[in-house]
Subunit: 231 residues, 2 copies
């Protein structure tokens, strides 16, 4: 478990993170910016989803990305090709982004841009189906991806992420014919613990489902129903 209480400092680390996340969200709200926290296991397709999204919505929304990775700027370099600001955060040995890291990323964004100009901040978290769900960064909504290759039972086995998600993308559905997998069973397993999330099956290869996702994102930027209330 993550150590959540520092006895010497007398602070609950999750509470301290939440305070800073709320502070980040106050900035986002003041700027009129929607922040989506994109999370999944490694290789579920977060970066390719962001590539598609940046390409598809470039005429509709002014976007920026905070790109979390333990090491390398491989993903940041991929996303910069779409002509948007991409702030890389290397977390070192850390398994998730936290509110302080994202706050640092925001300060770097502000050095070069006026954040009031942006509609949407996409935060790509470190690939991990467990820890990122526990550390809010100030997002208005949590986006979880689950690849069909990961198996039907994952919502049951890793419940925190699926309980917290506001939108779940079931990715790589083009691979279903080659797997022993039932997408409906994945959805049913998620619904056992989360009645409110939008669930969108997608394939970045065939494009299936992506229009539904783009509509969801555009709606989120007008803060309709999908938005999360500050805790």
């Amino acid at each position: 478990m993550h150590q959540t209480f520092d006895a010497a400092l007398g602070v609950n680390l999750l509470h301290a993170n939440q305070d800073l996340a709320d502070h980040n969200r106050e900035h986002f709200d003041a700027w009129g910016l929607t922040c989506l926290n994109v999370m999944s296991s490694p290789g579920a397709g977060k970066t390719v989803l962001l590539e598609k999204t940046l390409a598809a919505l470039k005429d509709d929304l002014k976007m920026a990305v905070i790109e979390g990775d333990m090491t390398t700027e491989l993903d940041a370099e991929r996303l910069r090709q779409y002509g948007v600001p991409v702030i890389p955060i290397n977390t070192g040995r850390s398994c998730h982004l936290d509110a302080k890291m994202v706050s640092g990323g925001l300060h770097r964004l502000e050095q070069e841009y006026d954040p009031n100009d942006f509609d949407l901040l996409l935060v790509e978290n470190v690939g991990n189906l467990v820890c990122p769900a526990e550390f809010e960064v100030g997002e208005h909504a949590k986006i979880a991806l689950l690849s069909v290759t990961e198996g039907e039972d994952k919502p049951l086995k890793y419940p925190v992420m699926f309980q917290e998600a506001d939108c779940l993308l079931v990715t790589k559905i083009d691979l279903v014919p080659y797997l022993k997998i039932d997408v409906q069973r994945i959805i049913d397993n998620v619904r056992q613990m989360n009645s409110h999330a939008s669930i969108i099956p997608v394939s970045a290869q065939t494009g299936e489902g992506l229009e539904t996702w783009y509509d969801w994102v555009k709606k989120s930027c007008h803060r309709e129903d999908v938005m999360k209330v500050t805790a």
Copy 2:
């Protein structure tokens, strides 16, 4: 990041974990038991690999399993069908097994069995490509799985697991024809940071590579060259 120092208790949590891991390993050595710590992202195929291994080696080795999951006994139930002792450990919100949890599992094993009778203890860790690599449980070797569906860049982006692995299984290679993936590039990326690990491409569907894995496991139980020296 995991909090690694508890200032009030004055202990480095990773060092405390390592001490207990070393203690677990002393027990394993006294029992003549080899312990393999099996780790990967969720859905890379740990459980099906253990199923195949339990079935294939049942006449060669006396085996037991410690099965780590955040919640549910779904995997434990799958593995019990192979007629071996399976000790489930539910980690709750924790993202990895640690040495203390495994120590508790060993005590439960000892209540019903004589550990001296066993050759091999397979520990299936929580699905997470980051955190389990940092918390040794007393294993003689670390087994990492990487599914070809996760992408070629993962060893570069999640280096700790790939630096630490003694054996890397590149799984689901039956899906390569349907992906834009080059298995050799995965191997090359691992070799940038790890020159010693055995790397075995496998498919649980077609059986490709499994005999090589079984040989590796059998060799590990005779403590030949693949074994890890206590740190």
